[in-house]
């Protein structure tokens, strides 16, 4: 498949994982990400990999923990309620510094909520979710092609930093179909996992994978190591896309599906003579705070408008980055509803009326 093919978001995640060298998938069914499982159940047989339908999300993430400890590239996927169940395991993966990729195709919450698209898991994804001081790399693609490239990147980042990398999508992105070009990828096979448990095989010392540190000073030292590692990730791996910032009066902040709608509104606004730009974080953690701060310093930028499929979550990080330099407005829809272009345009016009004119 070197030519373009038409793929669903969920399928492309699965295919990208296979092409990145992932041969182990553990998961539990939940709408709207189940196509990842369906695809993996077939493809893993074709490529000689391993697909296990676990008894629960809790079991699935712990199978991931085991396979990652054993040195494999491994994937699990779920949707919001299932991701809540995985949080314990994700904390252990962070504590044991294991590389793993977790996909969250977000649905509306809280509770059982609904199956339609939402972005209400931003806090959970970027602020921890599980217990203890840790970070996950969180990537929020906005197109099928980007889902492919970022899923491959996720496996490389996971191995490179021995971290959990989350792909954060939503029901719309998971179900959406777009043409995708499977650019050749080189799995980062050079990562030698000398720490992995593969059997001692004559090694002078046995390998141990654990997240327990009984001595408080040892644990604090481990915490400091993690903090230092996360600082490197913040410096090296922050990704974002900017659009139309030249002379922009109002700047959108949005990720994933919400950013796709904003992109159309930018064109509509331009036709009306209003200059609107956008910064779209591709990594939600690390968050592009420095870039947002730089944009806030631009004299032609009068205000920010943050658009999300939630009650206002990423907007808190935007406000921290803008740090009072410019007003930051928010508009969001919930329950599985998407904001229409018209709704967003109306918000934009009101801000333009009040703060630009």
């Amino acid at each position: 498949m070197t030519n373009r093919v038409l793929m669903k978001g969920n399928e492309v995640i699965a295919e990208a994982a296979i092409r990145a060298g992932c041969r182990y998938y553990f998961g539990y069914p939940i709408t709207p990400q189940t196509e990842i499982m369906h695809y993996m159940a077939k493809r893993m047989v074709e490529v000689g990999g391993c697909f296990v339908q676990a008894e629960s999300e809790v079991a699935a993430i712990n199978m991931v923990y085991g396979a990652a400890a054993a040195g494999a590239r491994v994937l699990t996927s779920s949707s919001s309620p299932g991701i809540s169940l995985k949080q314990e395991g994700m904390s252990y993966i962070a504590g044991a510094e294991l590389p793993a990729v977790v996909v969250n195709i977000v649905r509306a919450g809280p509770g059982l909520g609904g199956i339609l698209p939402a972005q209400g898991d931003y806090f959970q994804a970027t602020k921890g979710g599980g217990h203890g001081d840790y970070r996950n790399i969180v990537i929020a693609p906005a197109s099928i092609q980007e889902l492919y490239e970022m899923t491959v990147a996720a496996f490389n980042l996971a191995d490179q930093y021995r971290m959990l990398v989350m792909i954060l999508g939503d029901g719309a992105l998971g179900q959406m179909m777009e043409p995708v070009l499977f650019r050749d990828v080189e799995p980062n096979v050079s990562t030698e996992k000398l720490w992995a448990t593969r059997g001692r095989k004559g090694k002078p010392e046995h390998n141990i994978v654990t997240s327990i540190y009984i001595d408080p000073d040892m644990l604090e030292m481990k915490n400091r190591e993690l903090v230092a590692k996360y600082a490197v990730v913040q410096k090296e791996e922050t990704r974002f896309e900017t659009l139309n910032l030249d002379g922009a009066e109002i700047v959108f902040t949005a990720f994933g599906t919400a950013s796709r709608i904003c992109r159309n509104v930018i064109r509509q606004a331009a036709e009306m003579g209003i200059k609107v730009g956008m910064i779209r974080p591709i990594t939600l953690w690390p968050f592009p705070s420095e870039e947002i701060s730089r944009i806030a310093d631009l004299s032609h930028v009068k205000a920010f408008l943050d658009i999300e499929l939630n009650a206002g979550q990423m907007v808190e990080d935007v406000r921290l980055a803008v740090n009072g330099k410019k007003p930051v407005h928010f508009y969001g829809r919930m329950g599985g509803n998407l904001p229409t272009q018209k709704e967003i345009l109306d918000q934009l016009l009101a801000i333009h009326e009040g703060e630009v004119r």
Binding site: M1, L6, E11, T31, Y39, L116, Q175, M177, P179, L338
Partner: protein, 239 residues
């Protein structure tokens, strides 16, 4: 019980009163079903046309999304009880059986993806003995799992087994959505021809979005395959 019982072989000789579209996930079954129902409407202005969205697999991108278009054409839409809501219980409305019982109706069934979706046909197996019907498998050769003749043949077997119905024809719906030109349909023709040779299932028509097709393909492709020119109706976000 049915009084109009006919043998399946005889059923195939009659003018069909029910068209069933099955296929892989994302092959474009819903778009084809909606547009095919529109074609039936034009050809049968006096008949009642019914489109049943029986996709119990996928809560998104389904013919239920085309509700307003269908209503304009006076096509009755029957959807799963929870279609386009926040619940994903695969619940089938009893109303679909009206197509079997009312001879004035011409029906189109839009079935969910893969063998999983096709199972619903198996669940109403005995009903098919009373009606002339056609089962068409929609194929997009630019989708995974149906990219070549062998895989198309394999999926045809899986679908037929799950549905407990034989497949009467392929529909070539090869496309890359808005990135499509006539090239895609031209390139898929030899693949479908080979799939026909392997399976004995004929290619009954090709389909594509009107704006992507050459204006001079009037009723047929340049490979002389009957052509359904389609409007885009199944959209998720109409904002």
């Amino acid at each position: 019980m049915y009084t109009n019982h006919i043998e399946p072989d005889d059923a195939k000789k009659l003018q069909p009163r029910l068209y069933i579209f099955i296929g892989a996930y994302g092959s474009g079954k819903s778009e084809v079903s909606v547009n095919f129902a529109g074609k039936l409407r034009k050809e049968n202005p006096q008949r009642r046309i019914l489109l049943a969205d029986l996709d119990i697999v996928n809560p998104f991108y389904r013919s239920a999304d085309a509700k307003s278009v269908l209503e304009e054409d006076n096509i009755r839409l029957i959807t799963p009880n929870f279609a386009n809501t926040n619940v994903d219980v695969p619940s089938v409305p009893g109303e679909i059986f009206s197509v079997f019982d009312d001879k004035e109706v011409i029906g189109v069934f839009d079935i969910g993806g893969e063998d999983l979706g096709a199972r619903i046909l198996s669940s109403m197996h005995s009903r098919f003995s009373g009606i002339a019907y056609r089962v068409y498998m929609v194929v997009n050769t630019l989708r995974p799992f149906t990219a070549d003749a062998e895989n198309i043949a394999k999926m045809a077997v899986e679908l037929a087994q799950a549905a407990r119905l034989s497949i009467d024809g392929f529909v070539d719906n090869t496309n890359l959505l808005s990135n499509t030109s006539k090239d895609e349909l031209e390139q898929s023709y030899p693949i479908l021809s080979r799939a026909s040779a392997i399976t004995g299932i004929p290619l009954v028509f090709a389909s594509g979005l009107d704006e992507n097709l050459p204006a001079d393909w009037d009723g047929y492709t340049n490979q002389n395959v009957p052509l359904l020119r389609m409007k885009r109706t199944v959209l998720y976000n109409k904002g």
